[in-house]
Symmetry: C2
Subunit: 196 residues, 2 copies
């Protein structure tokens, strides 16, 4: 990862959060489809073209991770003790991440509630999170590709299934209970031990 000068880096993150906040505020008010990219850039005070420098598309503004998140994932993954079963690692990392990102989880949930048209969109949390998880797991677990993907995608399914059942009034701990129940209900057989 190339670190550009701190000033540029800081401004980029500021702009990212500015646009992100403006977009999600509008979307919670009117719903995803009723907010055009022009609305977002007008509210954020940037040009239309710049929006697409920051986000690959309108959906990305909802689902992309915060610029700081990758470092957070790395920390959470590195904290997992050696020998812990992969399934437990996935559960704990997921709980750790949703805890740290609780505010954004709630925000995303509000956007989804206001935007029934997003129902068909399977993306819940950042896809890039799962890419990072898969990379980590490939190096730490002793499974063939198919079983590795099955395990990770099963964890993904637990999260994606739990979210719509989550009553936001219960707070982030309410989601955690659903996740724990889900991880207990659907467990890949023979939870292998991680190697290193």
């Amino acid at each position: 990862m190339v670190v550009s000068s701190p000033v540029r880096e800081r401004k980029k993150r500021e702009t990212w959060r500015l646009v992100h906040a403006a977009a999600l505020r509008l979307m919670t008010e009117r719903g995803f489809d009723a907010v055009s990219v022009d609305d977002i850039v007008a509210a954020a005070g940037i040009s239309r073209r710049t929006f697409f420098n920051y986000f690959a598309g309108k959906e990305s503004v909802v689902f992309d991770p915060d610029p700081d998140d990758p470092a957070l994932w790395a920390t959470l993954l590195a904290e997992r003790p050696a020998g812990e079963p992969l399934w437990s690692s996935l559960r704990e990392v997921l709980i750790g991440y949703t805890t740290a990102a609780a505010d954004r989880m709630l925000l995303q949930r509000r956007v989804r509630l206001a935007s029934p048209e997003l129902a068909g969109c399977s993306r819940e949390l950042a896809d890039q999170f799962w890419v990072a998880v898969r990379e980590w797991a490939a190096g730490h677990a002793d499974l063939d590709g198919l079983r590795l993907d099955l395990t990770i995608n099963a964890a993904r399914t637990v999260l994606n299934t739990s979210c719509p059942h989550w009553d936001a009034d219960t707070g982030i701990t309410g989601l955690h209970e659903l996740l724990r129940a889900g991880f207990a209900f659907v467990t890949p057989s023979l939870p292998e031990r991680i190697t290193s």
Copy 2:
């Protein structure tokens, strides 16, 4: 379901298959993005507007089920013996469906191979298939909503994970082996018995 006159019904299915075949042929040749809707309608000999009468969008032409499929699902689901565990029912229905739709499974696979841009698209088989499955399961299995969704989405994950690992040279039975292995590997605990 309102049955319109048999002639109209027949022509609609003919047109559907005509457009579908033209679209998938072009997409296997050039890839999803490189085929525009105008290309498709030109190849199929219909108007642009008519295309959108048949398909909700360009993606739908790849992922929508054949007009005959819903009846097939209903048959497969009705054939499941009373008392069979839900997980087994899901496995067998999935194998039955992929058997009957083997040619389209292979075709879809070719389109995906030619279209890396479709990677992020989580849709594998028809979403509507899973809607039908969920409705059936809700009436036959004795599970709360969360566990029901977890079970069905786990089955969905097994399919969606198996497909990319599937070597088409092994034919549809190769996919079936992957599915059986996947269903065995990730099994929701306490496989409840279906009630009626």
